[in-house]
């Protein structure tokens, strides 16, 4: 174990998983397709989960309504993309990307605004009361889902993709969808940005300090409340962005999306450990790879496999693979 920890420890888990899958699948071309799919899915899930994990780490607040940001992001992006339908279909990459940028920006802004509302109105009155927190954020999730139903209706919504992200690249015998590569790159970019923000800036230093010991940071005279609302809004904006990306990935979305993603996001933060973005990334990639591999090898077991994975990891490490917070 000591050896393992020195060289990255649990962060080798996705690699080990990929090697086992390579042996089990046998065909390198299918394996490559699945691995790329898993990685891009993992980064999208990371976007959705990172905010939940950070907010919990910093303020000991678990937002059960977090998946509402994901759904709203997906639906707002779908509406914006549909509005710019003409631009999407054109051959000009500029118009294509403009429409895409608008859609993602709309989702992010909406997510941040909704996050602000959530923090101020829903969560603020019930700080440090877990029971009421769970109940109230759950109630907020119901209301949010119903509002989505009332606004966009219950039937599935088609999400148009920008023209330049359609199709696939052929590498050897395996075909890699362009959209997945795009999702992977964007997710990796955001992760990089978050990493720099948390590790290289003063604000990041304060956030990390707050995660480790909130009272001490407060005692030193920093307003952790203000920091917290910033992190909350950032987290909800990222979740909305993840939702927007997911909408393009799925191409057809239903209001059930939020509830489906919520389960995966929870499994990810439990596996990864709460409070650290490294842990969340690890959890997201492990879960997404597992889902893709098992979905190929034994389709019926796909969801149950993540559940079993979570159970096994909890038996091994009750606080997740790489938590930043010591859970009291």
């Amino acid at each position: 174990m000591g050896m393992l920890d020195r060289f990255g420890g649990v962060f080798w888990l996705p690699v080990i998983l990929a090697i086992i899958a390579f042996v089990l699948i046998g065909a390198p071309s299918s394996w490559l397709t699945l691995t790329v799919a898993g990685l891009s899915m993992g980064l999208m899930i990371f976007l959705m989960a990172s905010g939940l994990s950070l907010v919990f780490g910093l303020m000991d607040v678990l937002n059960f309504g977090h998946s509402a940001f994901v759904s709203f992001g997906a639906f707002v992006a779908a509406s914006v993309l549909a509005y710019f339908g003409g631009w999407l279909g054109s051959d000009s990459i500029l118009l294509n990307s403009l429409a895409l940028v608008f859609a993602i920006a709309a989702a992010v802004v909406f997510g941040a605004a909704l996050g602000w509302f959530f923090e101020r109105v829903i969560v603020k009155p019930v700080y440090s009361d877990h029971l009421r927190q769970i109940l109230i954020t759950m109630g907020a999730l119901i209301v949010a889902e119903q509002l989505i139903l009332a606004t966009w209706g219950g039937s599935p919504v088609n999400v148009p993709r920008p023209h330049f992200l359609e199709g696939a690249i052929i590498v050897g015998n395996s075909s890699l969808e362009v959209y997945r590569l795009f999702a992977f790159c964007l997710g990796a970019l955001v992760y990089g940005g978050l990493f720099v923000l948390l590790n290289r800036t003063r604000m990041g230093l304060l956030i990390r300090a707050g995660v480790e010991n909130r009272e001490m940071v407060e005692a030193l005279g920093f307003k952790i409340d203000r920091l917290f609302i910033g992190v909350f809004m950032l987290g909800s904006a990222l979740a909305a962005m993840g939702g927007a990306m997911w909408a393009g990935y799925e191409t057809i979305i239903t209001p059930a999306l939020g509830a489906e993603m919520m389960v995966i996001v929870f499994i990810v933060v439990i596996i990864g450990g709460l409070g650290s973005i490294q842990g969340t990334l690890l959890g997201a990639i492990v879960v997404a790879l597992m889902q893709n591999y098992v979905g190929f090898l034994a389709p019926k077991l796909a969801l149950a496999s993540n559940m079993i994975l979570m159970m096994v990891i909890l038996l091994w490490r009750p606080y997740g693979l790489a938590p930043a917070v010591k859970i009291k």
Partner: protein, 352 residues
């Protein structure tokens, strides 16, 4: 008058109404409502054991409810509609519930309450997906329709008059439907009584001690994890039994009647409206919510039609959106009346 007595009187009068409801309300729909109330009282009371008495939040309660219901449904469908198969189904449902509860409990009750909530949520959704995927066994999304023991069939004559026809008492036909209703009523009343005994027992006191101060309870020498797991198993068993009773009454079991997340939300609403940690509050909460489910929608339909000319309002008032309003009411209740109806009555009276 003491607040506790007021709450008990209200709850007991609801039980009284339930006892005589076939005679008081001679309408098929009213009997459906009464049976549903009885079953949900048990379900909510067993959930109150967890959330109110021990302070643990589980989202897997419908899963156990579903295990019980599917146990009976599958046994009746695969086997025969006899008491023997019924017993097998009930036992299977209870056993599966207890085993799963022990596994989840030992695994995750060691850590924070919030972890437990997330894990039970994940487990419940896996159960829901499995139920709809294993369609050869569970009937998938459509569920299972089956026939129950012959004594519960509406054509069965329970009592006959001199001419051999079904006897009527106060205009109510003594047929299998009455037998089924009283089977539901008696089973639910016994289960509710059993849970009242549990909270009054030394076990109940230990549970409340854990809720109030976990570290101190551990310090006095109570194994907190063992107690939590025990109460989780008890609650799961009670939920499974309620599910079995409900499956016997409905003669149908599907994801929408037992496993769906909407029912979990109903249970949460009932326990919060009634009052957490009061047990008697479950009776009040379940009654109000089930009544609202059946009658509020009609009211909303009227409101939606009345506001037809206005923009957006009819959309928000349509009966399909009733969960929206319940959600808002729920949030307001948790803010302003966290003690629920029963809890508030008890507190108010105590102050005076």
């Amino acid at each position: 008058m003491n607040g506790k007595i007021t709450v008990k009187i209200i709850a007991l009068s609801i039980w009284g109404l339930l006892l005589f409801s076939p005679f008081l309300f001679q309408d098929v729909r009213q009997i459906e409502v009464a049976a549903r109330i009885a079953v949900f009282i048990v379900l909510v009371a067993s959930y109150d054991l967890l959330i109110g008495y021990t302070g643990i939040v589980s989202f897997a309660h419908t899963m156990f409810f579903g295990f019980g219901a599917y146990g009976v449904a599958i046994a009746m469908k695969q086997g025969d509609s006899t008491w023997g198969y019924w017993m097998v189904g009930v036992l299977a449902g209870v056993l599966v519930s207890a085993i799963v509860a022990v596994l989840i409990g030992l695994l995750s009750l060691r850590v924070k309450a919030i972890f437990f909530a997330m894990i039970t949520l994940a487990a419940a959704s896996v159960a829901l997906v499995l139920a709809s995927q294993l369609s050869s066994f569970t009937g998938g999304e459509d569920g299972i329709t089956y026939s129950v023991q012959s004594i519960f069939k509406p054509a069965t004559k329970l009592l006959t008059d001199d001419e051999g026809k079904v006897l009527r008492i106060m205009d109510v036909r003594m047929n299998g439907k009455i037998a089924a209703y009283y089977f539901v009523f008696i089973s639910c009343a016994v289960l509710f009584w059993a849970m009242l005994r549990i909270v009054a027992s030394p076990l109940g006191t230990v549970l409340q001690a854990i809720r109030e101060n976990e570290a101190r309870a551990e310090g006095i020498g109570y194994r907190v994890v063992a107690y939590r797991t025990a109460v989780f198993v008890i609650a799961a068993t009670a939920a499974a039994l309620a599910g079995a009773v409900y499956a016997t009454w409905l003669k149908y079991t599907g994801p929408d009647t037992t496993l769906s997340f909407a029912i979990m939300i109903d249970i949460l609403l009932m326990v919060v409206i009634g009052g957490m940690g009061t047990m008697w509050g479950a009776v009040i909460g379940a009654t109000l919510m089930v009544m609202a489910q059946y009658y509020l929608r009609d009211l909303m339909e009227v409101a939606a039609n009345a506001t037809e000319a206005l923009p957006l309002l009819p959309d928000l008032l349509s009966p399909d959106r009733w969960l929206l309003w319940l959600g808002i009411i729920f949030i307001l209740l948790v803010y302003f009346f966290p003690a629920g109806i029963a809890g508030t009555i008890i507190q108010r009276r105590a102050v005076k």
